[in-house]
């Protein structure tokens, strides 16, 4: 066998493999984004089916839905957590680690605004967080008869209402988003 011919063949095979892997690794995010946005655009048919799970890529964070600041919630919000104990007493829950950060909270807990958004989209995680607060606030979970999660929010008023209201923001309001 001519060594000079074998080498280029091996080299070509190596290069084709690399190109296929590089392109192939882009297909899951490409497919998911096309499918998801096609769905959002109201399209139907096979293109929508491209929006499917790619667990092996997702597990490695290599299949992301890209849409930075595509939306912004028209209200600012924080959460408030309250428990009712077996004796009827109501108690607010505190996140002592965050509160201990004081004026450094926006630096030490820089990721919290995004975590709050993630909580908003994931009620189960919000319940897990409530249980965490119950434990760290020193309550026995068995003694808690009701857990209530409030969203404490204030709307951003549309431009045409600002002059009449004399402010950019609506009144501060509490709304129960989960109670169990």
């Amino acid at each position: 066998v001519d060594a000079n011919k074998v080498q280029p063949c091996k080299e070509i095979a190596r290069k084709i493999t690399i190109v296929l892997i590089v392109i192939g690794s882009l297909l899951p995010p490409l497919s998911m984004n096309i499918g998801a946005y096609a769905q959002q655009a109201g399209l139907s048919g096979p293109i929508v089916k491209l929006n499917r799970q790619f667990p092996s890529f997702y597990a490695l964070l290599l299949c992301q839905m890209w849409g930075l600041f595509s939306y912004i919630s028209p209200f600012n919000f924080t959460y408030r957590f309250q428990v009712e104990l077996a004796d009827g007493q109501l108690a607010d829950l505190h996140d002592f680690k965050k509160e201990a950060a004081g004026k450094w909270e926006s630096i030490l807990f820089h990721n919290e605004p995004k975590a709050d958004l993630n909580f908003y989209a994931n009620p189960r995680a919000l319940r897990n967080y409530t249980e965490y607060l119950i434990r760290t606030n020193g309550f026995d979970p068995a003694s808690v008869t009701r857990r209530t999660i409030y969203i404490h929010y204030w709307n951003v008023l549309p431009r045409d209402q600002v002059a009449a209201a004399g402010t950019y923001y609506g009144p501060v309001t509490d709304r129960v988003i989960d109670s169990y």
């Binding site: 590089v22 964070l61 290599l62 990721n111 919290e112």
Partner: protein
């Protein structure tokens, strides 16, 4: 004629993926390491690491077993609560090695896995920078190594690679293009309508914006520029970056992220830094008029010419 066209296309494709690589990998590597390290230090110093990823944190170990993706299982392997701190220090060590360029490829692979494992341990902690750093770290595993500004080269005296290929840089570049392209699609399908500025008005009054009391940020011309400027620069990036406009466009995009980092809250600071790090994957050692040779072979050739 057809065979000539195919041969030419093949040659261009070969050059595109396997031509000599002069990407500024040092910048990408050091930037990626910093973007892993600084948030990790903040997580450790604040107690947030234990709050997010601890056995008794907001996603307890017994609950996490049924809900998380496999890389996160690293955190669940041992019942000892101190186990997460061993992972913490291992991640710090790996990211430090990556930053200094010590055993670069292994450090990149270990950092990638530990970083992904950490985020997957509790996806509530997921933020945009995690998605960017994941593909950047993967690319660093395969990038030419050792790099010029690395312990591997400067102290351990490992020679610079005599032959480099561009495909690892292409991986970053394609991912960045996908990111901006789909972001633009998402914005146009979402709240960013051409000709309107309502979305910018809302952004300037949101908790994400640092200066909600500064009125001129909501002036009509500023709003119009913010909405249409960002749509234009992000929407065109994926196409124009392959032309001669590459360098000014990449620099404009870096400036764009610096402005966002200044205007917006700390919640998006590391996302912007990660985006800038990924954009460095488009910069070449020959940019800014200071050509740098990447290999001894090239050095010898240059010396011969001189």
């Amino acid at each position: 004629v057809l065979s000539t066209v195919i041969k030419r296309a093949g040659a261009r494709l070969d050059e595109f993926f396997f031509g000599p690589d002069n990407t500024r990998w040092d910048l990408v590597r050091i930037g990626a390491a910093i973007t892993v390290l600084v948030p990790l230090i903040l997580l450790g110093a604040s107690g947030n690491y234990e709050r997010l990823y601890g056995h008794w944190g907001m996603l307890p170990r017994n609950v996490a077993v049924d809900t998380i993706y496999w890389p996160g299982f690293l955190f669940l392997m041992k019942a000892d609560p101190n186990w997460i701190w061993e992972i913490y220090w291992a991640t710090m060590a790996a990211a430090l090695c990556l930053g200094f360029g010590l055993w670069t490829r292994i450090a990149a692979a270990v950092t990638f896995f530990l970083y992904v494992a950490t985020v997957q341990r509790n996806l509530i902690s997921f933020n945009g920078e995690h998605g960017i750093l994941a593909f950047v770290l993967v690319a660093l595993v395969f990038a030419p190594s050792p790099q010029r500004w690395s312990v591997d080269h400067l102290l351990l005296k490992k020679p610079l690679p005599s032959k480099t290929e561009r495909w690892a840089a292409r991986f970053i570049q394609f991912n960045v293009c996908l990111m901006y392209f789909f972001t633009t699609i998402g914005k146009l399908l979402g709240a960013w309508k051409l000709g309107t500025t309502e979305i910018w008005y809302q952004i300037t009054l949101s908790d994400w914006f640092r200066f909600p009391t500064v009125e001129w940020f909501r002036a009509p011309w500023v709003s119009w520029l913010a909405v249409h400027g960002s749509l234009l620069i992000e929407g065109s990036f994926a196409f124009l970056v392959w032309t001669r406009l590459r360098l000014p466009l990449v620099l404009a995009m870096i400036a764009f992220h610096v402005i966002i980092a200044i205007l917006f809250s700390n919640g998006v600071l590391f996302f912007n830094i990660a985006a800038i790090v990924a954009l460095c994957g488009f910069l070449k050692t020959t940019d800014f008029g200071v050509p740098k040779q990447s290999a001894p072979a090239t050095n010898a050739a240059s010396a011969g010419k001189n």
